[in-house]
């Protein structure tokens, strides 16, 4: 994004010449000292134009006019401008504007953004831990981060608890090698700005390098973003309060290279280690020395050791593979390995270190040494090397060569005897001295030994280093045991197989070493015997006495050393056996636990315990029986229904046939009746014609049939015609009725047919047998009704027939009468 043209800010005059002012100018801001109405200003810095209150204020120092304090929306400490990181961050903040996203920005280098959702205040601890673990892995200051997260989360939850229908809090975090960023966003009902945070703001700002609060009006979303630099020297502090009405309206989503990860999936096993205290380097020294000593001793029993000048780091690694307690090698990094190599090659350095460690071991309370430790704490091992060689070593070269040759001291046998006593004595003395609060210095040890051996202190001096070394290494052995106990704990967290494998390889390795040592021992013993024999054989030829003595002494020393080593190894072996036994027991316990869990799981898969299963089986059986019974019942019922259906069908078909016959008969009767009617009409018309002629004749003749008679006949004829009409109408009505019944009949037959068809191919899911039976009954009823109707019609037809005959009789009578009248007239 390029800088916008309108970027005016109000600054106090003194700021323009300061680093901050110059930085603002570099950012593209236009610095103004006076407020001009009508112009728009982005913000005002510190006390600039105190009368202007409608411009958000940014402060760069703690002290500001109290009158203006309520208008402060942002704070940038002056350290920001003096560091590159701070400048970069601010440039990005002011230039990217709404696109500025801390978590995205500080993830690009490291690719991953983690996200978690928190629903409940009760779960905050778990998720805070997840974030802390991530920060710890990336070596950030987790104390500060935890303080920040605790404060921010408690504020966030208080905020959403008051809002209705709240959504979970969304937390995303990321880190680059440079900084760790966390963004907490939540949906709220509203946000009143800086005042709402109160004292919380102080904590949040204190425990972060950059703290931003943004409120999105449109979505009522509040986000807290924080950035923590890894470099703790960057002490800059800042806070920003931003209100955003609309985020970018850009259409296409800007694809960030980084990947989003669910923070819930971070299951890596991380073990917290207490923060390294400054004496780390001296610890490293002692570790390096311990292993250098081991390698030196090991090289003594090696068949053909590589020349010390040609040793390389890889050789050191090879040697370390033979070290009995491999767990303690964890602390050995490349720096230490290189240093071991140096120690092996450089005796002077080795002794210098030994001397230093002696001091450390003997006087934990010595403030001077603590001071040395503190100084050394910040140095690398190679720095220390220089300090010890050129500055601090109390030995001179001469002494060193003499140290090497202490075995050449004549009084060896005496020394061998006294050695253990002196050792004890020194330890007692050390305890006494340290209990007195005094520092144990080399002189003390020299004094004790001199007293013990009745020798001059100066002569003793050279022996001291070897002795003290032993005392110190005893101390170290104790520490190692502690380490073993710790190792056991770690092992307990690992799976059984892994532990077993580890232990087995260790035991094999131990056995190898044991065997090697045994062979060596046998060889040496043989040699000794052979030499003794040869000594006996040649007593008369005395060789150089001192040489024999030396050889003897050397031999006995070697044997002694080997024996002690063997004892030591045996002890270690038994230790390991015990350990492996314990491990086996633990593994068994775990296996049984797993079995129990498995069985539980299996049970859960079967949804119920066996009892329930049995119960269910019994139930199931009874249900099956009932099902069979019901099936039988249904079969019988179905058969019954079919039989009944068939009988009913036949019956109804017969009835239909008889009905049809009846119908046909009735129709033929009606036909005949119609013909009769027609004939009758024709005859009646003829009669009418005749009677009219008769009337005319009578009227012409004026005699014969009396007028009354004619009137009577006319009346009769009228009655007859009206009766005829009525009967005609009746006939019409009857034919209509008949047609209706015919249709009804057709309908019922078709229904019956379809019903019978359905009977043949029953389609379940449409009509049940009961419904069909019902249908059948309905049809039957309908049939009965139709039969009744037909019977009635028959009756009517008969009535009409009777009437017809009556009428034809009457007509015949009238004809006769007419004939008589004709006769009379003639």
């Amino acid at each position: 994004m390029t800088t916008k043209p309108n970027k005016k800010i109000l600054v106090p005059p003194e700021l323009s010449s300061s680093a901050m002012g110059i930085f603002f100018e570099e950012l593209g801001f236009e610095l103004n000292y006076k407020h001009i109405t009508g112009h728009e200003y982005l913000f005002a810095v510190n006390d600039a134009c105190p009368d202007v209150l409608n411009v958000p204020r940014l402060k760069t120092k703690d002290s500001i006019d109290p009158k203006l304090a309520p208008f402060v929306k942002s704070f940038i400490s002056e350290d920001y401008v003096s560091s590159i990181e701070g400048r970069k961050l601010l440039t990005s903040y002011f230039n990217d504007g709404l696109e500025f996203d801390l978590v995205d920005r500080y993830s690009k280098d490291f690719k991953n953004i983690y996200t978690v959702k928190i629903h409940e205040y009760l779960n905050v601890g778990y998720f805070t831990d997840a974030i802390i673990v991530e920060a710890y892995k990336a070596k950030f200051n987790i104390n500060i981060l935890r303080n920040y997260l605790n404060a921010a989360m408690s504020f966030a939850f208080k905020k959403i608890e008051t809002s209705e229908d709240s959504m979970p809090i969304d937390v995303s975090y990321s880190h680059s090698g440079e900084a760790f960023a966390v963004m907490i966003s939540m949906g709220v009902d509203g946000f009143e700005g800086i005042g709402e945070l109160k004292e919380c703001l102080q904590i949040l700002t204190e425990n972060s390098n950059f703290f931003d609060v943004s409120y999105f009006h449109k979505k009522n979303k509040l986000t807290f973003s924080c950035l923590l630099f890894k470099d703790e020297k960057l002490a800059m502090k800042s806070y920003f309060f931003t209100e955003i009405t609309n985020k970018s309206a850009r259409s296409e989503e800007v694809e960030v290279q980084s990947e989003l990860l669910s923070g819930l999936d971070a299951h890596d096993d991380i073990k917290y280690e207490a923060q390294k205290i400054p004496d780390e380097q001296s610890k490293k020294l002692s570790i390096a020395r311990k292993f250098a000593l081991f390698i030196r001793n090991y090289r003594q029993i090696e068949d053909s050791p590589k020349k010390i000048e040609k040793l390389e780091v890889s050789d050191v690694e090879n040697y370390l593979d033979f070290y009995p307690r491999q767990e303690s090698l964890k602390a050995v990094d490349d720096e230490i390995k290189n240093f071991i190599l140096k120690l092996l090659k450089d005796d002077q350095l080795f002794n210098g270190i030994s001397d230093y460690i002696k001091k450390v071991a003997s006087s934990n309370l010595d403030s001077q040494i603590q001071e040395i430790q503190r100084v050394l704490g910040e140095k690398s091992l190679s720095d220390i090397e220089e300090i010890l060689i050129f500055g601090g070593s109390p030995k001179n070269d001469q002494d060193l060569t003499r140290v090497k040759g202490w075995v050449e001291d004549g009084d060896i046998s005496k020394w061998e005897v006294k050695r253990s006593q002196i050792n004890e004595k020194i330890q007692d003395e050390l305890i006494r001295i340290s209990s007195e609060g005094r520092n144990i210095v080399q002189d003390d040890i020299i004094r004790i030994i001199a007293k013990e051996l009745d020798a001059k202190e100066n002569d003793i001096k050279v022996l001291v280093s070897g002795l003290v070394e032993e005392v110190v290494s005893n101390e170290l052995v104790k520490r190692q045991k502690l380490e073993d106990a710790f190792a056991l704990k770690i092992l307990a967290n690992q799976s059984g197989d892994q532990v077993r494998e580890k232990l087995e390889t260790q035991i094999v390795r131990m056995k190898k070493i044991m065997e090697q040592l045994k062979n060596e021992l046998v060889k040496l013993q043989n040699e000794k015997i052979a030499r003794n024999a040869s000594d006996e054989n040649t007593p008369s030829v005395p060789t150089d006495g001192s040489e024999t003595l030396q050889l003897k002494a050397a031999l006995s020393r070697t044997i002694e050393a080997l024996k002690s080593k063997e004892r030591f190894l045996e002890k270690i072996k038994s230790d390991f056996e015990l350990l492996s036994k314990n491990k086996d027991l633990k593994i068994e316990a775990l296996a049984s636990k797993i079995e129990a869990m498995k069985s539980e799981y299996a049970r859960s898969r079967d949804f119920a315990n066996e009892e329930k299963l049995q119960q269910l089986e019994v139930e199931n059986n009874s249900l099956v029986q009932r099902l069979e019974l019901a099936n039988k019942k249904v079969n019988i019922r179905n058969e019954n229904i079919e039989n009944r259906d068939n009988g009913a069908l036949e019956k109804s078909e017969k009835e239909i046939q008889s009905l049809r016959l009846n119908m046909q008969k009735a129709q033929s009767v009606i036909e005949r009746f119609k013909q009769d009617k027609l004939e009758m009409e024709a005859r009646f018309n003829d009669e009418k014609e005749n009677s009219r002629k008769l009337k005319e004749d009578l009227g012409v003749s004026g005699s014969g049939v009396s007028k009354e008679e004619v009137a009577e006949k006319d009346a009769v004829i009228n009655i007859l015609t009206s009766e005829k009409r009525a009967s005609e109408e009746k006939l019409r009505a009857m034919t209509i009725e008949l047609k209706k019944t015919e249709q009804k009949l057709k309908f019922t037959t078709s229904q019956l047919e379809s019903a019978s068809k359905r009977k043949v191919v029953p389609t379940p899911g449409q009509k049940s047998p009961e419904a069909l039976a019902k249908d059948l009954e309905i049809t039957k009823n309908k049939l009965a009704e139709v039969a009744l109707e037909i019977a009635e019609k028959r009756k009517e037809v008969i009535k009409l027939k009777q009437e017809n005959t009556m009428m034809s009789n009457k007509i015949a009578e009238l004809e006769k009468k007419l004939g008589n009248a004709d006769k009379k007239a003639s």
């Binding site: 996200t115 409940e120 959504m167 309206a249 850009r250 800007v254 694809e255 960030v256 989003l260």
Partner: protein, 293 residues
């Protein structure tokens, strides 16, 4: 697992093809898989002891297992242990919905109804009565949405239940005044738009009231052309996923593969980051479960 009435009595849609076995040996289909379940009839058959069987059904055993694990997940108070249950559940999802080929969305819907639904049976029947296809589509959206939320790290069971039930209810409440057929057509048209014009917006207004539009992201577009002008950067991750899911499920009858496999195959278009995270959650579990085993 034997097919009994108890297995389906709380179901709304048929978990498989359910047949009535006739004495003659023939079989008559009573309820088709994924269609409305004729519970009354099936109960009658069961009560009468008539043989009823299911084919091509969902694996009731696995579903029961998932339900049991989800219950344990829900009841667990300690987050660490809760996450272990969560991992187990996701491992089963992987096995059942991704590694098996062509497992339909319906199976996931059926599971969601069992895990997250707070609807009672009559309410569900009302939904079906309105329109089975519309209901099935909305159910697919609600269940996919809830499962994605679960994968994204929303872990609280109550929240998930609320998310599922509210989404389904709101979807079903949409356009109740319009006729179902025309509503489906309108919604299908809007679904296919990548960006809204003002005409489209008028179209939206015929379906949802202003009040509804103020609250929902149902019609929002990633480019901000929706009614609330929210672009993908302003949306929460849940909203981003919801928009993508709404676009994925059509209103036609055809059923599609389940959402989890759509996520793995990258068919869910919800922006690279969210999709990648979902994919990661679904894929990384495998190793961890192997390690546990």
């Amino acid at each position: 697992m034997k097919f009994t009435f108890a297995n389906i009595q709380h179901d709304l849609l048929s978990p498989g093809n359910i047949f009535w076995k006739k004495n003659s040996g023939g079989a008559v289909l009573i309820s088709k898989k994924g269609e409305a379940l004729n519970l009354k009839l099936i109960k009658k058959f069961f009560d009468a002891g008539i043989e009823v069987f299911m084919e091509d059904g969902i694996d009731l055993h696995v579903h029961h297992e998932m339900k049991t694990i989800y219950e344990k997940y829900s009841e667990e108070v300690l987050m660490r242990d809760k996450m272990i249950w969560r991992d187990q559940l996701i491992a089963i999802f992987r096995k059942e919905f991704i590694e098996k080929e062509l497992v339909m969305q319906f199976e996931l819907d059926h599971l969601a109804w069992k895990l997250f639904s707070s609807f009672k049976l009559p309410e569900g029947l009302n939904f079906i009565e309105r329109d089975t296809d519309l209901f099935r589509r909305h159910l697919s959206v609600a269940s996919s949405y809830t499962f994605c939320a679960f994968l994204m790290g929303y872990y609280e069971p109550n929240f998930l239940n609320r998310l599922f039930s509210k989404t389904l209810q709101n979807l079903m409440d949409l356009g109740t005044s319009a006729h179902v057929l025309s509503l489906k057509e309108k919604l299908e048209y809007l679904r296919l738009q990548e960006s809204f014009s003002s005409e489209d917006y008028e179209y939206v207004k015929t379906i949802a009231s202003d009040e509804v539009l103020k609250k929902t992201v149902m019609f929002e577009q990633y480019d901000g052309s929706g009614p609330r002008n929210l672009n993908s950067k302003e949306m929460t991750d849940l909203e981003v996923v919801f928009v993508a899911i709404s676009k994925l499920f059509g209103y036609t009858k055809e059923s599609r593969e389940n959402i989890l496999s759509a996520v793995v195959k990258g068919e869910l278009k919800c922006g690279g980051r969210t999709l990648k995270m979902l994919q990661k959650v679904l894929s990384e579990k495998e190793k961890e479960m192997d390690a546990i085993a």
